[in-house]
């Protein structure tokens, strides 16, 4: 069992890496067992990168094994299927295997024990269009089973001129996990059938299957299975060095191409699929079986460690019972010990990402010693496969100097944990990097929100300015008309009226200041202001033509109220005017003239004045009028 497979002729080592105790033989000695059909399955709806699938069934519905119970929502999403036949008990938020411990929507199915399938049909992929194949895989819920659950259909049909290399990731570098190893030992022929499909779909000129040298039996099985392939294909045995199973690390190992962060490997002519994913692609296409089960390693502090072909949604407690959980297990790792996480409870259902469940005990995983200060020994940099300087990123993260951390390529970190593994000061480096990343994300999010609020506020100011300017221009135009038409029987305006005007204008100015202040205060808090202020800036800037009268409905309530008041006032004045004597009319004329002059002066000054100074400027002009 400890024999190593002979290394391949040529490979290209990546920088760093670590070799923790493998702990693989515990679970790799027995064949894959058929998992239990639990009484109840908790199937998470969010089982891929991207959007959560949308439920298609209702509580109480009877579903068949393999029936689609939730459809993909958009392009980046994948369907979810009933893992066995039974009745839908609930569709509700439940605990799921996720490090956050947050609730996510799950469909709970009570199995009827019959395990009755839907009709399954082979998919004729050779004649189908590329789009149809993609839709088919999406609807069969095919996602990356290596842990990332990236929807597989998104990786197919991208490159029109074919692919240089199709990399099959069978490295399985994390300690404890042996599900891919066993899958290859037992189902190599079906995996290779899946590879043939992928090779044809992607028009790959070469297929390289990367396996670590600690899986000699899997290597032999795969070598036997690829015999007779009509394209260039090879099993490349790479040294056992974590994280050789990281997609970028394996691509580097096999092709010597380094995929930079933020770049898709397709751009370099390489595409990488996990070996278990390839197997599900084969089952989906040739047998019409959606992804409703996966091989999962049950190991650690259990009586019968091994691999189980388990239904998706099987509660972890059922799987642990199947493997004979020991009473002193204190918590459970979902995934491997290097990148996995502790599940919030054993009631969570198995998801497609669940390649391994490790029962933890203090004997197997002794508590980590206390953190000591970093002595900058650089062991972490030696171990980092992304070739970062983790001790610097740690320093920046700890001092909350996130900009600097980003500058030093924090987001190239794949969180493999090699740095924390080697740190002689026992510093949980990855936690600092996760913290820095989430702080940066949060800051970017709030910056975006603040930008939006600021833009909205600036637009409002711009629009108010414009409206005032337009109003003043209108008044000025009217005044000019009147000036031409009316006789210039200007009577000296009586002081009483002038004072009244002044007081009215002061009141109006104060009101405006109040309103502006209220708006400023309210603005950042009302991201979805239902009134006209929510008009997108782009739209407004595109149409700045001076519309003579802004529709009242587009103004805010206060302004509308003011306009209404003004109109009522004018109507009353009109009525009064009709009842006036000629002398009074003349006096009235003079008053109007004064008013217009004041308005014109105000408008002229307003043009120059900034929004913040508006109130002051108005007060000054009222004084001068």
């Amino acid at each position: 069992m400890n024999a190593r497979a002979a290394l391949a002729v040529t490979f290209f080592p990546f920088h760093g890496g670590v070799h923790p105790q493998e702990h693989k033989t515990e679970s790799s000695g027995t064949p894959i067992a058929a998992g239990p059909i639990p009484a109840k399955l908790v199937v998470p709806l969010h089982q891929s990168i991207g959007n959560m699938a949308k439920a298609l069934v209702n509580v109480g519905d009877h579903v068949l094994k393999g029936q689609m119970i939730a459809a993909a929502d958009g392009t980046v999403s994948a369907a979810v299927h009933a893992p066995t036949s039974g009745r839908v008990l609930s569709i509700s938020p439940q605990r799921v295997p996720h490090p956050s411990g947050l609730l996510e929507h799950c469909i709970t199915i009570e199995s009827d024990g019959e395990d009755r399938w839907i009709d399954r049909n082979r998919f004729d992929w050779r004649t189908a269009e590329s789009r149809a194949i993609r839709d088919y895989l999406r609807d069969m819920g095919v996602v990356g089973l290596g842990g990332a659950v990236f929807p597989s259909h998104l990786k197919i049909g991208g490159a029109s001129d074919g692919l240089d290399t199709l990399v099959i990731n069978a490295a399985e570098c994390e300690p404890f996990i042996t599900c891919d190893d066993l899958l290859m030992r037992e189902r190599a022929v079906q995996i290779v059938e899946g590879i043939k499909i992928l090779q044809a779909l992607l028009q790959a000129r070469e297929v390289l299957i990367g396996v670590e040298d600690n899986k000699p039996q899997a290597v032999d099985a795969m070598r036997a299975a690829i015999a007779g392939c009509e394209f260039k294909i090879d099993v490349v045995v790479v040294p056992t060095l974590y994280p050789s199973g990281g997609a970028k690390q394996l691509i580097k190992l096999l092709t010597n191409k380094e995929v930079p962060s933020g770049v898709r490997s397709t751009d370099l002519g390489v595409q990488c699929f996990n070996v278990a994913t390839v197997y599900t692609i084969y089952r989906a296409i040739e047998h019409g079986e959606p992804v409703i089960s996966r091989v999962v390693t049950l190991t650690g502090n259990v009586e019968r460690p091994g691999n189980v072909d388990a239904l998706i949604g099987t509660p972890i407690a059922d799987l642990l019972a199947f493997a004979g959980n020991k009473p002193d297990s204190d918590s459970y790792i979902y995934g491997g010990p290097m990148m996995g996480f502790e599940i919030p409870g054993t009631d969570v259902g198995l998801s497609k990402a669940g390649n391994c469940i490790i029962a933890k005990s203090s004997g197997l995983f002794p508590p980590k010693p206390a953190e000591m200060p970093c002595i900058r020994c650089g062991k972490c940099a030696d171990a980092c496969p992304a070739e970062l300087q983790p001790m610097d990123l740690y320093w920046f993260g700890k001092s909350k100097n996130f900009g600097k951390a980003q500058e030093r390529n924090l987001f190239d970190c794949i969180e493999c944990g090699a740095c924390a593994y080697v740190c002689p000061s026992n510093i949980q480096l990855v936690d600092y990097f996760r913290f820095s990343k989430s702080e940066i994300w949060a800051a970017e999010k709030s910056k975006k929100a603040a930008d939006q609020a600021r833009e909205r506020h600036e637009f409002r100011q711009f629009r108010e300015e414009r409206e005032k300017r337009e109003k003043a221009e209108r008044l000025a135009a009217k005044a000019a008309q009147k000036h031409d038409a009316a006789a210039s029987s200007a009577d000296p305006a009586d002081a009483e009226r002038a004072a009244k005007i002044k007081a009215a204008m002061e009141r109006a100015a104060a009101k405006k200041v109040e309103a502006a202040a209220a708006q400023v205060a309210a603005d950042p808090l009302t991201p979805l202001d239902p009134d006209a202020n929510a008009v997108p800036v782009a739209e407004a800037v595109a149409a700045p033509a001076p519309e003579p009268v802004a529709p009242v409905s587009q103004l805010d309530p206060e302004k509308a109220e003011r306009i209404r008041e003004a109109m009522e006032k004018r109507a009353a004045e009109k009525a009064a005017l009709e009842a006036m004597s000629p002398e009074e009319k003349a006096a009235r004329e003079a008053e109007k003239k004064a008013k217009i002059e004041a308005a014109m002066a105000a408008a002229a000054a307003k043009k120059a004045a900034k929004a913040a100074e508006a109130a002051k400027a108005q007060g000054d002009q009222a004084d001068g009028a």
Binding site: F14, E342, M372, R376, A386, P424
Partner: protein
């Protein structure tokens, strides 16, 4: 809740420090054999003083005492400093130096991992600047001079300053080989004449050449244990030897050979144990090369043209200042962002 990775490699800091101390043992043995018990006294005094100072500083700063006192860092500092000291220096000097190095150079900068300067070298440098006479009073190694101090006489001299009746310290004293060469050259003695002195052995000083060889042995152990990056000692020794070689080739009558420079003074101690201090040096691979190279150059310049017989301590302290700057400008390209990708594969 615990987070990944759940596994850690069991090589705690204490083990690292213990191995560094272990690597010094051969040299300490040879040193004691050649120079007497004074060496062990200096080491003991330095260790006790450093640990006591460490404990007091931790207490004052409100840190837990046990994990930090037992991390071994203060012990390594104390040993490196004691090994740089004249073995027969009065007891209080090494104590003062230990207090300075731990309290001033380490804890006032924030303690373990935070110090800008190499604490052992700060302690040594402050003492040699403050007490130049006492710090250059070396006894000759056994067998060079007709008279020498036995172990009890050494103890008496270190702790009380008394010598056996009728014996003056000058009768047993001798300058170090580096110092001898420097002073004699200044008096226009020829190189061959200088090396005829009984103080000199095959390539360095009698005794000291074996001590430096033992440092080399310990250093190779550290390299084998992957506790120090090979770039630092290799670059440092290459530059020191290279510069010495150039001068020696041009004018062998005034400049000693690279071998002499390597096997005299603190060259080997510095190369493997002092320049390699991770806290006070750069962390990038290229930065370490630049750092070590410049220390090698500065060491040579101070040794040959400066005012002190050896230059390691000052060269290291000067370069400690430059370490963050060097790091800043030598950041390596990360995965996938290199200008050109390496093409070499591994054949097996």
């Amino acid at each position: 809740m615990n987070t990944s990775p759940f596994f850690i490699k069991p090589t705690p800091l204490q083990v690292v420090m213990f191995k560094v101390a272990l690597a010094l043992v051969p040299a300490i043995a040879v040193y004691t054999y050649s120079f007497g018990i004074g060496v062990l006294v200096q080491i003991t005094l330095a260790t006790v003083a450093a640990l006591a100072t460490e404990a007091v500083c931790l207490k004052l700063r409100g840190y837990p005492i046990k994990p930090f006192v037992t991390d071994g860092s203060a012990i390594v500092t104390a040993w490196l400093m004691a090994l740089s000291f004249p073995p027969l220096a009065p007891w209080w000097m090494i104590v003062v130096a230990a207090v300075i190095s731990i309290a001033l150079a380490k804890h006032m900068y924030g303690g373990l991992g935070q110090n800008t300067f190499n604490p052992a070298m700060v302690g040594f440098a402050i003492m040699i600047v403050s007490f130049p006479a006492q710090m250059s009073r070396w006894a000759a190694p056994f067998g060079v001079l007709p008279q020498s101090l036995d172990w009890s006489a050494q103890l008496s001299w270190i702790f009380t300053g008394n010598l056996p009746a009728g014996l003056a310290f000058d009768a047993v004293a001798s300058a170090t080989p580096l110092d001898t060469v420097k002073t004699q050259l200044m008096q226009h003695a020829s190189m061959s004449h200088i090396f005829q002195s009984p103080l000199f052995g095959t390539i360095g000083g009698v005794g000291t050449e074996w001590i430096t060889a033992a440092y080399l042995l310990g250093g190779l152990y550290l390299l084998w244990q992957k506790l120090i990056p090979w770039q630092i000692p290799v670059t440092f020794l290459a530059v020191l030897g290279g510069v010495a070689g150039v001068f020696h080739l041009v004018d062998p009558t005034h400049y000693t050979s690279p071998l002499f420079h390597w096997f005299s003074g603190a060259a080997m101690l510095g190369a493997f144990f002092i320049v390699t201090d991770p806290v006070t040096g750069p962390t990038t691979p290229l930065g370490r090369v630049i750092f070590a190279a410049l220390i090698g150059l500065l060491t040579y310049l101070i040794r040959v043209f400066g005012g002190y017989p050896d230059g390691i301590a000052f060269a290291v302290l000067i370069m400690n200042l430059a370490a963050p700057f060097i790091d800043q400008y030598t950041q390596p390209a990360v995965f996938g962002r290199k200008g050109k990708q390496k093409k070499a594969g591994v054949q097996s």
